[in-house]
Symmetry: C2
Subunit: 443 residues, 2 copies
Amino acid sequence: MRDFLPEDVRRREYVIGIIKRVYERYGFEPLETPAAENIDTLMGKYGEEGNQLIFKILKRGEKLDERLATGETNELADLALRYDLTVPLARVVANNKNDLPKFFKRYQIQPVWRADRPARGRFREFYQCDVDVIGSESMTVEAEILSAVSDILRRLGFTDFTVRVNHRQVLTDILDTAGVPADLHTDALIAIDKLDKIGAEGVAKELADRGIATAAAAMLMDIFAKTQEILGQEKDVNRTIVANLLNIVSNEVLTGLGRILQYAPNAPIVIDPSLARGLSYYTGAIMEISVPDLAGSLGGGGRYDGLIGMFGKEQIPACGFSLGLERILVVMEERNMFPSEIAESTPADVMVTVWSEETTADSLRLADQLRSSGLRVTLYPEADKLGKQLKYADSINVPWVCVLGGSEIAEGKVTLKHMKTGEQETVVPNEISGRIASSRGSK
Amino acid sequence: MRDFLPEDVRRREYVIGIIKRVYERYGFEPLETPAAENIDTLMGKYGEEGNQLIFKILKRGEKLDERLATGETNELADLALRYDLTVPLARVVANNKNDLPKFFKRYQIQPVWRADRPARGRFREFYQCDVDVIGSESMTVEAEILSAVSDILRRLGFTDFTVRVNHRQVLTDILDTAGVPADLHTDALIAIDKLDKIGAEGVAKELADRGIATAAAAMLMDIFAKTQEILGQEKDVNRTIVANLLNIVSNEVLTGLGRILQYAPNAPIVIDPSLARGLSYYTGAIMEISVPDLAGSLGGGGRYDGLIGMFGKEQIPACGFSLGLERILVVMEERNMFPSEIAESTPADVMVTVWSEETTADSLRLADQLRSSGLRVTLYPEADKLGKQLKYADSINVPWVCVLGGSEIAEGKVTLKHMKTGEQETVVPNEISGRIASSRGSK
């Protein structure tokens, strides 16, 4: 887990700001949930591996003492840190069914925590930027979500991302065709999910390790090799993929995938039958966005029509997508994609100096006056040599300094110094914000 | 810990937005720290009671198994949830001394967690909005911080808040004068801190319980009774208080308090010698802001010149203030202080209907086009009876609906319906954003 110093925070807020604005432009509303959930809410929702990566919070006071006294150490925790934003959303929807609109379109930008091994763009505390539509089975949902996230990435300056889309039923039908028995489907999917990371050979080995018969595994790998070949082609990729799936996958599912393509013409979608996604709660379309220079994805999502029913009586259809803030940031930093106003931001527009203990109140008054005119003003906090004060202003990149010495105060004036050029002039306080604004405009 | 539905989030973001803007206007820069700190960083920093309210995170994997195997259950946790924003700041400053400017002015707006009993405006997860200046002992620091938080409260619409200021040395000198031995000062302060909550009689009883001699306690209570009486007066309160302290408190400390008053003329400050503040790390000025209709405070802070040295070799002076977001919100909600654009906000400016499966792509295209013109647009996600779609638009408070039926599509037009008046007209898509904007302007 990391600290974010001011320039980090500014970059993060720039990206989050764009994500929020686009989500809101698509009619999504903000939701926030607590960092800690009841431990039972989270356990069993993320598959075997997920369970182990959940941070658990120790019980407190008497409840902890009781546990320890019995020597039973299996229920030491009652709360756990949020592991994703989808399960908390499902809980909120189930709990607030009557207060929420028939279709609930929400976005949520908050940290989640996983006790994972850190890697490039992977941290134990990281932000997810989720967008979900609750209440409709229509493919307009998948399409609008993919349009929105594509819109975000383009506004951030990405031009080379790919949206991979698949459907859980495509995977099931392929597994059936290859002769993988139903009770081994989950195992097979966990292996297939690693195709990007460990390659075809690695997956073949893991399939064998997980007890999938050689013939079935070979047929599976064959199907995926063929689709990978098609995905490498230049044109009509989606049409060719669908044509190849016609004998394996039901018409209904393929029509659904076609709808997503038709409804989201601006998203750079390719249908990839090998896309599996790790989380166990997906039931329909699954999707993932990647760029060439980052292993793993910038974000992913899918349809989970069965999850909300785990928290309430009613089964409610739902679909969502999660952009990974850290993944986006790591690529943007490496590619230098931040606009100059973010890269070169300063803590203040102007610094006011303090000449002496006696004139401190005058400096404070000037700072206040400049703030009222809309400027961001920092005060050197104590009387000090002017050279030191200017050196400090330089160290924090403040572009202007107001020098307020004895003679200036006597005349009711201020020496305004431009740090970059070293130019300075004597002005009355009222003129300062105008000078700074006009210099900005002329840049 | 609570969920925040969209209207809650909008209110929270409105307040946070004003706090950020004012802090930035005073030259403060943003910092963020992780939710979890090493447990040793937090333990022992918040006094006895604080230690017990810290949420601890269970060790994981082998490290947990080892602990449990030995039967030693005192070190089951390695991490703990952030309890305030001051201790993490002190750690960041000690760790990053060479990368930070000589005076580091930072703000930080993040949640903290305390296993406390919930009450009005008190939750187990709550946001602190902190502002701190590191590196200067000058009273301009206290003054600018109090000016900034007073500025924030005024911009939020508060007119009746009071800033109470005291100094740890004032308390020490009063305790010495009353004859409380030095090793009982902490106990005495814990009792005095409850004056607001449990009244003079309660404090007197607690002083006795904590072993403070009857004569000393009586003298203490007498001094505080006198200052309380002065605080109830209409004019020259601070002058009278200081005059009364002249024989008890050193000149230097009283001059310091006077400086704060002089340097922050816009903050409604009263010097209150009975203000104690619970946290144990304060060393100089202490301050608290309250309003008549909320027990407890809207925020508090003080100088802590000894804390950063606990994490590094160098002792660095520091002073800060923390506004409590939930405290501010609870009063603003009860007093109805939110501007109408926050109170009446909607998830979108306009909803686009979907006539039939065949025209779905047309509706999506229209939604996209309207978004490009700057509108926030939500799409009804599936083909449905028009009445149902309008009912839904009404339920989510969308002010305008674009009806796109077969005949409209044939003519390249849209029926634009104003939900409140029921008026509708047929327009070409390009005209829509203009119509909506002009109706907004005329309100």
